[in-house]
């Protein structure tokens, strides 16, 4: 079996739409039923990946082999696009990347599935606390309108080192160690549910009178998600990974015509191992 973890760093805001809701937001994003965290469901991610490959390779056998066709299963399986880091506005930084023990644990398991055993353990954190580097112990970090007490943790650096290979940009990786913040699952749940940017969109007629006003929710730029590409036979993933490395940009979700949903993909590679060999 071959498996590869691939990072998705959003370059622009993304709207993986859930199409409708009964709440105040007309167009919310997709969420996991169990956690309430945003997600890109596997079927829509696979569809977008297929579209991306067809636009490069053209329709036909090569794409069908990978993604399957009506009576025939494809070689590649794609998981959900799972959330790992969510940018949240702050008064101490322009923004920090928040994550939580549950997401880190899942990330750890997924890394194991793609053949990497990590040395760090998921740090424990209680509500109203934040684990972050670069701010002094017991000082206050403001995330949106909430105050968190800062704790430093020795393993944060190692965790950042394993997350960094999901990001294609050196500049983003360089910021990670200082901007990575771990908060309690419940606190994270609040930001995942109510902390995403909501944009008002308005349609005007020729006399500048509003015809339609609606609110839509997006995942902000610089959100980090990842998915796993799995294949039963060895080597059948290789052309997939090579193509993704060669042209890493992909558009996912709605509102493509106003530039939303552009992500840069990066296959997870163990850099320190490569440097050693």
């Amino acid at each position: 079996m071959q498996s590869q973890m691939i990072g998705l760093l959003t370059e622009t805001a993304m709207h993986p739409g859930a199409s409708q809701s009964a709440g105040a937001i007309d167009l919310p994003v997709q969420r996991e039923r169990s956690t309430g965290y945003p997600v890109i469901v596997g079927s829509s991610l696979k569809g977008s990946l297929r579209d991306y490959f067809e636009s490069i390779w053209g329709k036909g056998e090569r794409v069908d082999n990978l993604f399957g066709k009506r009576d025939e299963v494809g070689h590649v399986s794609i998981t959900d696009g799972r959330l790992l880091l969510l940018p949240v506005r702050s008064l101490q930084h322009a923004f920090v990347w928040i994550t939580c023990p549950y997401l880190l644990e899942r990330f750890q398991r997924d890394l194991l599935l793609s053949g990497r055993k990590v040395s760090w353990s998921v740090p424990g954190v209680s509500s109203s606390q934040v684990i972050i580097a670069g701010l002094s112990e017991n000082s206050t970090l403001f995330l949106e309108e909430f105050a968190f007490t800062v704790h430093n943790h020795p393993e944060l650096k190692e965790i950042a080192q394993d997350i960094a290979p999901l990001m294609a940009h050196h500049s983003a990786r360089a910021r990670l160690a200082d901007q990575l913040a771990i908060i309690h699952d419940k606190d994270f749940g609040y930001f995942a549910q109510y902390g995403l940017p909501v944009n008002a969109r308005n349609q005007l007629d020729n006399n500048k009178i509003s015809q339609n006003l609606w609110y839509e929710e997006t995942l902000p730029a610089d959100t980090l998600l990842y998915y796993l590409a799995l294949a039963v036979e060895n080597d059948s993933l290789t052309p997939f990974i090579e193509q993704i490395s060669a042209s890493p940009y992909i558009q996912l979700g709605g509102n493509a015509s106003i530039g939303q949903g552009y992500c840069i993909q990066n296959p997870w590679k163990n850099q320190s191992k490569e440097e050693l060999s």
């Binding site: 370059e11 506005r89 008064l91 322009a94 109203s128 206050t140 403001f142 909430f146 944009n199 008002a200």
Partner: protein, 337 residues
């Protein structure tokens, strides 16, 4: 999670690292208690005017990432500078009555792609008599600020509010109401970008430039807000910067694919500095070439590389060494080979 209001650590004004959009939307601190919760708009606007965001690295990173993406997707980008105050998002709710749209991550003003798309469609209909065919599929990205943004307060003073709002007759007994609001002043640069099939890019460029120059963007275009001019020199600078980073990246990749010996040779000026390399050759490389503790492959590689260097830089010397020193060196190299 503790709600913010009673918290002792909330600063009185945003620090230069803060996300100003967050401060503006959620940390309004200019409430006056003596006048039954009125909001001191003027003081609030003044606070905004004095804000300077100093995390330049992050703004620079977003610009170069955007340029990289647009180049990779085969689109085109333009730099436009405001010629008059610019504001968008006045309809958003805020205690000063008029909001503003903030880029979520940097907390600086930006121009949503949907606004640009709407302005292009409207100008096509109103000014250009549907000259620009808009059925083609293309992608309009948000325009992002180039560098930090300063903010400036402006005041609008509607004189006949009941006439505007309730359609009463416009009498001169109505009192004017000054309403302060925030704008992006003249001289601020934004990066616009569009991805489209290459055959349409020239037309789109013309259309965008005409729209931004003449029709304007954002709110209050009727009083000359939101006019822009194009800064081509800045566009060229961004392209040069992009090409330089690309070249550096390629070079770094090339370096990584080389063996440690080759990397060290390059570091000593093998390609670009013949004087410095001559010195390194005399002092280091000849001895290293003959160092029996090194693997034989490495020693032969060094000798080969030194021979290549002579052939390229001192061809005459290699064939007929004029002075004794060179003669000795060349003999040593030949011996290893």
């Amino acid at each position: 999670m503790i709600p913010m209001y009673p918290h002792k650590d909330i600063p009185n004004a945003p620090t230069s690292q803060a996300n100003f959009g967050l401060w503006y939307d959620k940390f309004c601190n200019q409430w006056s208690e003596d006048n039954l919760w009125s909001f001191k708009k003027k003081e609030w606007i003044e606070q905004a005017e004095s804000f300077r965001f100093n995390d330049r690295d992050i703004v620079h990173e977003f610009v170069s990432r955007r340029v990289q993406m647009i180049q990779s997707l085969g689109g085109r980008f333009w730099v436009f500078e405001t010629l008059s105050p610019f504001v968008t998002g006045l309809g958003r709710t805020h205690p000063v009555e008029n909001g503003m749209v903030w880029d979520y991550l940097s907390g600086l003003p930006f121009i949503p792609g949907s606004s640009i798309k709407g302005a292009l469609k409207a100008s096509n209909r109103q000014y250009f008599e549907n000259h620009y065919d808009i059925t083609e599929r293309f992608t309009i990205f948000d325009a992002i600020p180039l560098g930090s943004v300063t903010l400036r307060g402006e005041i609008m003073t509607p004189h006949y509010a009941p006439y505007y709002q309730k359609q009463e007759s416009p009498g001169d007994w109505f009192s004017p109401t000054p309403i302060p609001f925030l704008t992006v002043p003249k001289g601020q640069r934004f990066l616009f970008s569009i991805v489209a099939p290459s055959e349409h890019l020239n037309r789109i460029e013309e259309w965008l430039e005409e729209t931004l120059t003449w029709a304007g963007l954002g709110a209050k275009t009727a009083v000359a807000f939101g006019r822009f001019r194009r800064i081509q020199a800045e566009e060229q600078r961004l392209i040069r910067e992009f090409e330089e980073t690309l070249a550096q990246k390629r070079q770094a990749e090339q370096m990584q694919s080389l063996s440690p010996v080759e990397q060290e040779l390059l570091a000593d000026g093998y390609h670009d500095n013949s004087d410095r390399f001559m010195q390194a050759l005399t002092q280091k490389w000849l001895d290293k070439m003959e160092d029996v503790t090194l693997p034989e492959d490495d020693r032969i590689l060094i000798a080969q590389k030194l021979k290549d260097w002579y052939l390229k830089n001192k061809n005459q010397e290699w064939n007929k060494p004029k002075n004794k020193k060179n003669q000795q060196k060349i003999a040593r190299i030949k011996k290893v080979l």
